[in-house]
Symmetry: C2
Subunit: 243 residues, 2 copies
């Protein structure tokens, strides 16, 4: 069934009114008819199964048949701190990250980033990629996209416990970190992934001085856009939320 995130005030009692893009989708793209059904999501964790009743040029309205807590949300909330990457790579991380179960994204600029800060229209595009991926993958909450920050600030605002993946880390593996007490019972993690050129040692030392734990993903060298997705898959597998 098609799924749409909608503003909370579009759902009033058991009546759902669609406007703008979702109304256009229902009428002109999907060409749904009265009695057809869709899922509305109000981004509070609930999902509403809706049966269409009225479809006219100025009104698309349906009736809520049932509501339930959306089953697609992982209990572990991962915030992915991702260094800016070249355009298609960053969009790829957003789309795949949402599918796999990332809860929030914080783009950051670090020393070896070669990409400029995004324009306002680029950020809107990112937001749209996140929303489409969340609808397609049956998420119950829309992952949050935070503004771009410098690396040092990212280190300050990141909720703990926090992991930084570093290809030069040889002794501590991700699996070792996940067994540490602070991670075993965590309800949320921060996960730091560097840019194409990686993190220089000074940035890693800075992160460590702030209590962020460095870890290795293993013996193969993953591209920047692959590392976060492999790590998110592995972490969510480890805690029972994927596979």
């Amino acid at each position: 069934m098609n799924r749409f995130f909608v503003p909370k005030d579009w759902i009033s009692g058991d009546v759902v009114s669609l406007k703008d893009e979702p109304a256009h989708q229902v009428c002109h793209v999907l060409r749904l008819k009265p009695a057809d059904r869709f899922i509305a999501l109000d981004n509070t964790g609930w999902e509403y199964e809706v049966q269409l009743e009225k479809l006219s040029a100025d009104q698309v309205q349906g009736k809520v048949l049932k509501k339930e807590i959306s089953p697609g949300e992982p209990k572990l909330k991962i915030t992915l701190f991702q260094a800016l990457l070249k355009a298609d790579k960053f969009e790829f991380v957003l789309q795949k990250g949402v599918e796999l179960g990332v809860s929030a994204f914080v783009p950051f600029v670090s020393e070896r980033c070669v990409v400029k800060r995004p324009t306002e229209s680029k950020v809107q595009r990112w937001q749209k990629i996140i929303q489409e991926a969340a609808e397609q993958s049956e998420r119950g909450l829309l992952p949050t996209l935070y503004p771009v920050v410098p690396f040092a600030e990212a280190g300050d605002i990141a909720a703990r416990p926090a992991i930084l993946l570093w290809e030069e880390e040889k002794s501590q593996r991700l699996r070792d970190v996940l067994k540490q007490q602070s991670f075993l019972n965590a309800k949320s993690f921060s996960l730091f992934i560097g840019p194409e050129g990686g993190f220089p040692a000074e940035e890693v030392r800075y992160a460590e001085s702030k209590g962020i734990v460095t870890a290795s993903l293993g013996r193969r060298v993953l591209r920047a856009e692959t590392a976060g997705l492999a790590a998110v898959s592995a972490i969510l597998y480890a805690v029972g939320e994927l596979g």
Copy 2:
């Protein structure tokens, strides 16, 4: 250090002679000089650290300083049976699959595939993507790309144990399957991933009749090109070969 897969007969005793594309890379792209070093891989699992000695228009030659078993190869060999996908998605699966540690790829055509069989030049492009990803991610062996086969034939040739990921499978999760005796001690797995439209129930029943085990990746709906990579990450994490 730059890495190149080369034909075995380019390495003779402690002398390595480069031709063709690797010679061009060394001379004209990377502009290496005598005394610079690179890694040559002969696709037997060994890697050779080579110091350049001669660079001329018709000869690029170096001396082997040391050889060692390449540390990048996972012990568990995963063959990814991937239904044909739209062009960029399939190439994405090849590139990311190699980075993560897939040992071989078998493209197959199933009922809901919407993509035509690849041309010869497309297959050459795929081969090149695999080789570049293997060099970049520091693999010790070049993953094998098998010819495209129909789904039924794929089911026959796949080494067992074999897993088919199916979004309609609700009771058996990937983690349950990995605990089964036949998987616990396996040196190799086959992993089946469907096309954009998924597997129809008849294909799944057919696979099951051949002893292929169906499994779920969890509650979020992953795109076809994401499912294999999430599964490979999770499996290699589970067996200690990633993270």
